[in-house]
């Protein structure tokens, strides 16, 4: 983010025009939108500056998860901006808590809690991931070439989390922002208690999709087994189609027939948490 060019209000207008800020919470929100002139608020003083052209390789075969993460930190401190991790062999919690720019490539599959709590790196995983990949991710991109486990992108707050294959259940549970894209199918309870952000499922969605979602948008290209409580279909607008086309093309997941067939799901906002009236006001009404 350090090298980002300020875009000014024109950028804001464009992002609104592209439908990037359509969520409207009835209650208070703690979301803070990025403003380039306030860039220092979004940087971590202790995060190292790295050079993308400085490349290192790390063999994780004989290392524990803690050792792999410690080696990654040491390499980043030395300024390495592109790191390839070989033989991860399904180990858990690899690549977590990275708060700076980085090109991180895993040559193989990861276990649970892969690349959670990250804020900035671009990660590519040439394999599959276990449960809770990208949990609480704040910025950056994560691209998984194969399948992913359940709770994919739990509580994700920003960035793009993309799985080319299918994912397990409860995808995007408690999602608070950002974008989750699934090239294949997703399981039950996807988007459960989703609060903000966008989820795109190119294949089919399991039961209780969007159950108890507060806000945000879910797009499904295939069939939906059934909708959860307070999740309702909405009109797929031209802005939606433009955004979907751009995002799916970016990750080479755009279907040959385009995106017109996608179903859009939003919150019906009929749950109790949308009733913001104070008890005294309720009494007056009653």
């Amino acid at each position: 983010m350090a090298g980002m060019t300020p875009s000014g209000s024109a950028g804001d207008d464009r992002s609104y025009a592209m439908g990037m800020h359509t969520e409207q919470l009835a209650g208070r929100t703690q979301q803070v939108f990025f403003r380039p002139e306030e860039g220092e608020r979004f940087l971590y003083p202790w995060a190292p500056e790295v050079d993308y052209n400085k490349r290192a390789e790390l063999d994780a075969d004989a290392l524990t998860s803690t050792e792999v993460n410690a080696r990654l930190r040491a390499l980043m401190q030395e300024g390495y901006g592109t790191i390839v991790v070989r033989n991860p062999r399904g180990k858990h919690s690899l690549g977590v808590g990275i708060l700076n720019r980085l090109n991180l490539i895993f040559e193989g599959s990861l276990g649970y809690f892969a690349v959670g709590l990250i804020d900035g790196p671009n990660v590519r995983i040439n394999g599959r991931v276990g449960w809770s990949c990208g949990e609480n991710m704040m910025a950056g991109t994560v691209l998984i070439e194969k399948n992913a486990g359940s709770t994919f992108g739990a509580a994700v707050r920003g960035g793009d989390l993309v799985c080319r294959g299918s994912v397990g259940s409860r995808t995007g549970i408690d999602m608070k922002g950002g974008t989750i894209i699934v090239g294949g199918d997703t399981g039950a309870f996807s988007g459960f208690m989703m609060q903000r952000g966008r989820m795109v499922v190119c294949g089919n969605a399991g039961k209780n999709l969007g159950d108890s979602m507060y806000d945000g948008t879910i797009y499904v290209g295939g069939t939906i087994r059934d909708l959860g409580v307070d999740a309702v279909p909405a009109e797929l607008t031209d802005l939606d189609k433009a955004w979907l086309t751009r995002k799916l093309r970016q990750y080479e997941l755009l279907p040959a027939q385009g995106v017109d067939h996608f179903t859009k799901i939003v919150a019906g906002k009929q749950l109790w948490n949308y009733d913001n009236l104070e008890p005294t006001e309720k009494k007056l009404i009653l």
């Binding site: 062999r89 399904g90 599959s109 276990g130 449960w131 399948n147 486990g149 259940s169 039950a188 399991g206």
Partner: protein, 311 residues
Amino acid sequence: MCGIAGVIHRGGVSGIGAEMTSMLQALRHRGPDSTGFAIYGTPAEGDYVMRFKVAEQEDMASGFDIHDRIRARVEEVDRRLAEQGVTVKDRAASTEYAMRYVVSFDGDMEHLARYVEDVEGAEILSLGGALELVKDLGDATTVCDQYDLGGFRGTHGIGHTRMATESDVDIRSAHPYWAFPYNDVAVVHNGQITNYWMMRREMERKGHRFMSDCDSELLAVYTAHNLANGVALDESLERSVHEIDGVFTYLVATRDQLGMAKDTMAAKPLVLYESDDLIALASEEVAIRAILPEEIDTSDPYDEETRVWQA
């Protein structure tokens, strides 16, 4: 939390003891209390393998006369087997309290099992033509070494690493559970069954016995009940998803099959690798990588999914 794992070779035998040990050792962090194996070998025609214990591991520190008591219990088991017309062809003690007998018998197997279990401290862990069920306290490597499973060859197996949550840390509460009295059927489970007591009472009214207060034992009894009533394994698995409440993933192995079932919430993990000649399942990818280190494609079965594979 607990970890479960299973592997089945289609149309061939392999070093199933070593494979299961590697998989379960990789899952040690999910359950360090006890480890259990249900592995299926190639049986000799007409023979049965009976694995039983006559004491818990913790009993070994319970008094000066425990060794005499164990010896007396084993002698009593031997006497009852002889009385029932059982021929013991091979006798081995894996530990002081856990025995492995190869027997031939053509009478009522359920009656025999109940008669043996009537001996104080005795519990038959498994009785079957192909199944050998071993479980004890400690991690997979410890149990493997203790019971000499490293060289065991067979077609398939299931296993469990247990983190005790709702019942004791002892062999009685460890998995796998033999589906008493059904030959060669064993179950491992990860999860919690919330209608356990209701279903347990229902099964007890139908004459089934429970050896522990562990909710997982219900799945073995439930499976045995269905199989005894002519229900096929795949049908039993499908029914269980709707008749058993809670969050669970469990594996069932029979003489020549391996099955899995996942609850309606898909709340407990399972990773599946499937190829033409090998199926491997485990709570975590890392267990499958323990026997298949090369890059492979795996997936997570979805909610209410049940599968059965043939050896």
